[in-house]
């Protein structure tokens, strides 16, 4: 098929011009050159990659490996399965790997079957797995979120695969602008890169063009700050929490990072703080009474969630540490019992009503984003009485369910309450209003949030709202929002 015919074919399949052009150039490029696609969230690099996979499979590729963060395994598997049927698609973790291994004779590779294997980067970098992957020829290896591999501790996996000479084509994907990838692009003698020559770069950070050659315009985004004032009882609780958390940090209980996370959750919603405190109380009580945790931490599962509590855990500490930490947690929970107001929620309800009244053309699609599963659960429950349908997606739902819920939301309109993890891999097109109920940890996550909604090529204007508490009860929250306001 000529490049021109291929472009027509890709256009007919719904690819945008810049995606199709990339696919064509990728297929025509020298396979031995490493390809790097740097693209902002919302430009559809997964769409382009999956289209390239389909083409390669139709041209005889037998084995494709996709290395992705655990949270995106399901998304990749589903998308690849939807777009091509030449090759079966498998998602492999430790348990399924053991059975694959047991099913082949000793000395044979469990990876030798034809197909697209989607595996998490954390699983792939385990010693026996990377060793096995390095013995089999791969027609294509796709590394998602490739900027993670710039870090030395993660680079080994890619270095081993490249050094083994088993990778026919290597495609690196990242939503990180190129300066962050200097290590690959401008190698230094002190830090040799994993590739013999720097990757060939395709960047979508510049101007993108439509099929007719016109410049793709970013939809207009209006930002608004919703000012509210936390109630006196809420401020009292937060003050207590701020007083207690440094002590909790010292008391330890094996949770050196948790105090900071607790405050961040409290900034999101009182409910999220309450849930965290109760889970912490449960864990500390279990430790004090010497009950062993029922199961071992499952790194794959933990990575696949947007609940950050696991980040705060360190090694178990002494019973005395746990007891003193438990007392502090109990104190916070007691203080929480007298919190009867929730001004942020009240303001949210007012905002949703006012948007509904002011927006003349249904269906109205309002998306409310939060960092935390608990906040999303709370808002989903509290908004049920609104005169509209309320949907919810979080990282705990599987990808197919999330996609179906979003499809229904697009069809009927309503409120969609989602976590950052839940909206990952999902296109929230046609959303008219986005309410950031809390602010993410980093500007990059904020950019991703925006990219989920604010897709390139979308024409629907979108209004975004950020909540700001006038009481200033949580200083770092106010600082973060002020920084954001300055950027916007």
């Amino acid at each position: 098929m000529s490049e021109r015919d291929l472009l027509v074919e890709l256009r007919n399949r719904g690819l945008r011009a810049w995606q199709a052009t990339f696919v064509a150039s990728f297929l025509n490029a020298d396979p031995s050159a490493v390809q790097l696609l740097a693209a902002p969230t919302g430009t559809g690099k997964m769409v382009a990659t999956v289209a390239a996979m389909r083409e390669l499979a139709e041209r005889g590729a037998k084995r494709i490996l996709v290395l992705t963060p655990a949270s995106l395994c399901q998304v990749w598997r589903t998308r690849i399965g939807e777009v091509q049927s030449q090759l079966p698609v498998y998602s492999v973790a430790r348990h399924s790997y053991r059975e694959m291994e047991a099913a082949v004779p000793v000395g044979h590779s469990p990876w030798a079957a034809n197909g697209v294997f989607v595996i998490s980067q954390d699983f792939a970098k385990q010693h026996d797995i990377v060793a096995g992957l390095s013995t089999i020829a791969w027609d294509l290896v796709v590394v998602d979120e490739a900027h993670r591999f710039v870090a030395r501790q993660r680079a080994t996996l890619m270095e081993q695969l490249v050094a083994a000479g088993v990778v026919r084509r290597l495609l690196l994907l990242t939503a990180t602008p190129l300066p962050a990838l200097d290590y690959w692009l401008r190698p230094s003698p002190t830090q040799p890169p994993p590739f013999s020559t720097p990757p060939q770069v395709t960047s979508w950070y510049g101007v993108l063009r439509n099929w007719d050659g016109s410049v793709v315009e970013q939809p207009r985004v209006d930002w608004n700050f919703v000012r509210y004032t936390r109630g006196a009882d809420e401020v009292h609780f937060l003050t207590q929490l701020l007083e207690v958390t440094p002590v909790l940090e010292v008391a330890g209980g094996g949770y050196q990072l948790l105090p900071k996370l607790l405050i961040q959750r409290a900034a999101s919603s009182t409910f999220a703080a309450e849930q965290s405190l109760q889970r912490l109380r449960y864990t500390l009580r279990s430790r004090v009474t010497n009950i062993t945790a029922p199961i071992e931490a499952d790194s794959e599962a933990a990575a696949d969630t947007d609940d950050l509590e696991t980040e705060g855990k360190t090694n178990a500490s002494t019973v005395a540490d746990n007891s003193s930490a438990l007392q502090l947690v109990e104190r916070c929970l007691d203080a929480l019992e007298s919190v009867n107001t929730d001004e942020k929620l009240r303001e949210l309800k007012v905002l949703v009503r006012s948007i509904a009244v002011a927006y003349p053309e249904p269906p109205l699609r309002i998306c409310i984003l939060s960092r935390y599963v608990d906040t999303v659960a709370y808002l989903h429950s509290a908004l049920q009485n609104a005169d509209t349908r309320v949907f919810r997606i979080t990282g705990r739902d599987n990808f197919a369910d999330r996609a179906a819920i979003v499809e229904e939301f697009r069809r009927t309109g309503g409120l969609l309450v989602a976590t950052d993890g839940g909206s990952e891999g999902i296109e929230l097109r046609d959303v008219t209003h986005v309410i950031h109920y809390d602010v993410p940890r980093t500007p990059m996550i904020m950019e991703r949030r925006q990219g989920r909604v604010d897709r390139y090529g979308q024409t629907t204007p979108c209004t975004m709202y950020v909540f700001r508490d006038n009481s200033g009860a949580i200083p770092f929250e106010s600082e973060m929002i002020d920084r954001l306001a300055a950027v916007l």
Partner: protein, 284 residues
């Protein structure tokens, strides 16, 4: 091995998640990220004993040229010492030169697809079962792994039972049978045909409890036992209801789900203790 070898169709079935994978087999008992400690055959027994003590293990596989020759354990060491001593007619033996290869016990191998109860006797006798083959050791299962696994499988059901029974008891504390029937009429009548409307706690589902407690019209009845706000209580009960649903639909709970279940169960218990204490105070 040819890198183009694709004579392994069975693997593809398994990678996709076979139906048999749903059954409780040895693979499920093996810890997810187990790192198996092995020792070479020429290692002196003294060093291997030090490793066992250091890692709190009772035995360790002995591997020579990629093949598991057997197991070295306190027991195999004692047996080897006794045998050596007997063969020398009671004269002294040089323990410092004894290698693990001279203290081996035969190893039995299970497959990841085996039913784990078929290995109970072996676990009882040997305290561990090797999984895989002599040339491909995939892991080691111990009785503690089995116990942890069974606890993991059973504990969510126990926690859900405690949560639900506790919640019923709390509701009973603040509503009479008549109150409850009235609550059911107010907020459950849309969900049931009139002749099927549940009026007692035993007839109601967990979802019905959530509807009744979380309804603004009934909240004044329940506020005294649940404290907090109606919105927070309702959100919590809805979360409990979802987790309960997951448990009874046999969806594997994550580590966080266990914590959530435990925390919910603790929350109900705390509310029950507070309600009982207040009742005692009132009686006094």
């Amino acid at each position: 091995m040819s890198s183009d070898d694709s004579r392994v169709p069975a693997a593809t079935e398994l990678a996709a998640g076979s139906i048999t994978d749903l059954f409780h087999r040895l693979n499920r008992v093996l810890p997810e990220n187990q790192h198996v400690l092995t020792v070479p055959g020429e290692m002196v027994a003294y060093e291997a004993l030090r490793l066992l003590r250091q890692h709190h293990f009772s035995q360790v596989p002995v591997v020579v040229a990629g093949e598991v020759l057997g197991l070295f354990s306190y027991r195999s060491f004692s047996a080897a010492v006794l045998a050596a001593s007997a063969s020398r007619g009671g004269s002294k033996i040089a323990l410092e030169n004894l290698t693990v290869e001279e203290c081996l016990e035969k190893a039995e191998f299970a497959r990841v697809t085996d039913e784990f109860e078929s290995w109970f006797d072996s676990l009882d006798a040997n305290n561990a079962v090797l999984v895989g083959e002599a040339h491909r050791l995939q892991g080691i299962v111990t009785p503690m792994d089995v116990l942890r696994y069974l606890y993991e499988v059973a504990s969510p059901f126990v926690l859900v039972a405690e949560m639900e029974l506790g919640l019923r008891a709390l509701m009973r504390r603040v509503v009479t049978d008549d109150n409850l029937a009235e609550c059911a009429k107010t907020c459950l009548s849309k969900l049931y045909a009139p002749d099927r409307l549940p009026t007692t706690l035993e007839e109601m589902t967990f979802h019905d409890y959530v509807q009744i407690i979380g309804d603004g019209r009934h909240w004044p009845l329940f506020e005294s036992v649940f404290r907090s706000t109606r919105e927070r209580t309702r959100a919590k009960l809805e979360e409990m209801s979802e987790l309960r649903n997951d448990v009874f639909h046999f969806r594997k709970p994550s580590v966080e789900d266990y914590e959530r279940l435990g925390a919910f169960r603790d929350w109900v218990l705390t509310r029950a203790r507070a309600a009982e204490a207040r009742a005692k105070d009132g009686a006094a």
